[in-house]
Amino acid sequence: MTSAYLDLIRIRFLMMLAYRVNYYSGIVIYTINIGAYYFLWEAIYGEQKLLAGFTLAQMTTYVAVSWMARAFYFNNLDREIANEIRDGSVAIQFIRPYNYLFVKLMQGFGEGLFRLLLFMGPGLAIVCLIFPVKLPTDPGVWGIYVVMLLFSFLINTQINMLVGLFAFFVENNEGMLRMKRVVVDLFSGVIVPISFFPGWLAVTMKWLPFQAITYLPSSVFTGRTSGDEVWQVFGIQLIWFFVLIIPIAWVWRQARTRLFVQGG
């Protein structure tokens, strides 16, 4: 059974490899985005040395690593799941001897592996050449960052699954999918680090899972979070990973009893 899941990772990885040209332009797009925000932040800092606990050098690194982390953890599982529910092919998945959600996770992981090796990796290297990004020198930071990045992927995938599964209840959830994408980008801290948010919003964010996707790992990477605090933020990621399993399992149970296929 495990080997079947491993094969799913392999197949998706190879599938992505066939379309790798798409991702070369992806690297350029992300570099452009990072560039735009680099110049913006430079102008925002102006004469000021420190804003919301970030120096300009840290902010440059934060922007670069956050966008490149997004290059890795981003996937369209939500849309894939919603489409399979809408066109009814999910019915076939139900009768197959595997867990549909695990299959999706594995496919997402195959895609993530591809994105890590051919998108995030080279992208980060290019960005480091163009912009003054300061990579951490402590191998321990790299180690914990890689682990946290994995959990970024898992938590983002969980949110994608949850939103995708809503197609069981609302027929057409295209708008919801788009809304989710915007909300995740904003609240995860890719656009602005959460410590810049006004007080009430920053407090709200502490109680939501989005910060675990980008803000927490990137803060560790830039060295803004260090020492024992690192374990604390990693703990937050772990907690969210386990907490999010509950609604997914619940929605999945509910969903199976109300599947109806539109059109067929």
Binding site: S25, E174, F197
Partner: protein, 263 residues
């Protein structure tokens, strides 16, 4: 007249399909606005930490952003052919379009209308009016006229650029990813261009004139002249006409090369 009635029929059709999924329509509208608004939220958050951005005050930057939303919304409503290559070239739907007696690009655009995008324009106008008051700018009727002229110019720039880029699919059927690339570059234009380095600034003003879809025409209305930008503003409709002419030429040339799909 014929083209007008055609547009009306397509809009009626659009309304009918949308009314089937009513709840979703509203969510889509909201998510569209949020998508546009994310940069505005960025500006608002950032100005809590700094008084000025490259010499521009918060109200000025928001004003520029409001202006940007007006042409962007119009453009989004009438030009929604991001999947042109896939739908019309790869699947061969262009065959159907070309056999009909109306200009092909016009038909393609009408088949893909996205009126909810107009809400963005409305929000942009509201933002402009509010920051107009904040900035204490004088108002006269001439401004309304200039606003209309600039908006048309900006929409033409967008339309021209993206028409020429979409037309690339006539020459190469491989996905190039150049459209999202351009879309991302267009984001540069909504902020004051003087914060970028010289190369990007030149690029945004003369080669990919996205600065004419945001900061340049908007600065015409502002009192303070930032590095001579407002004198460039009057060029907006000219640049628009030139870019559109280039776009249509590339498109018309491309359509002649269209061969249809196998099946």
């Amino acid at each position: 007249m014929f083209y007008w009635s055609l547009a009306m029929e397509y809009i009626k059709n659009y309304a009918k399909t949308k009314l089937t999924y009513r709840a979703d329509f509203w969510v889509e509208l909201l998510s569209d606005l949020l998508f546009q608004g994310i940069n505005l939220i960025f500006i608002l958050i950032v100005f809590q930490h700094t008084p000025s951005l490259g010499g521009w005050s918060e109200a000025e930057v928001i004003f520029v952003y409001g202006y940007f939303m007006v042409p962007a919304g119009l453009f989004g409503a009438f030009f929604n052919i991001w999947n042109f290559s896939e739908r019309y070239i790869v699947k061969g739907e262009m065959d159907r379009v070309l056999t009909r007696p109306a200009y092909n690009l016009y038909q393609v655009l009408l088949e893909n209308l996205d009126p909810p995008s107009l809400f963005g324009s409305l929000v942009g106008l509201i933002i402009m009016v509010i920051s107009w008051g904040d900035l204490g700018l004088a108002f006269n009727l001439m401004d309304v006229l200039m606003m209309a002229v600039f908006t048309v110019g900006s929409v033409l720039i967008y339309a021209g650029l993206f028409t020429s880029l979409t037309a690339i699919s006539f020459y190469s059927d491989a996905p190039t990813g150049i459209l999202p690339l351009m879309y991302n570059i267009s984001n540069y234009g909504r902020y004051p261009v003087n914060i970028y380095n010289k190369i990007i600034r030149f690029l945004l003003t003369w080669l990919l004139p996205f600065a004419f879809v945001g900061v340049i025409p908007a600065s015409y209305f502002l009192d303070k002249d930032h590095e001579g930008l407002s004198s460039l503003a009057l060029l907006t409709p000219v640049v628009g006409a030139v870019v559109l002419a280039i776009g249509l030429t590339i498109w018309n040339h491309g359509v002649k090369r269209y061969r249809g799909a196998g099946s």
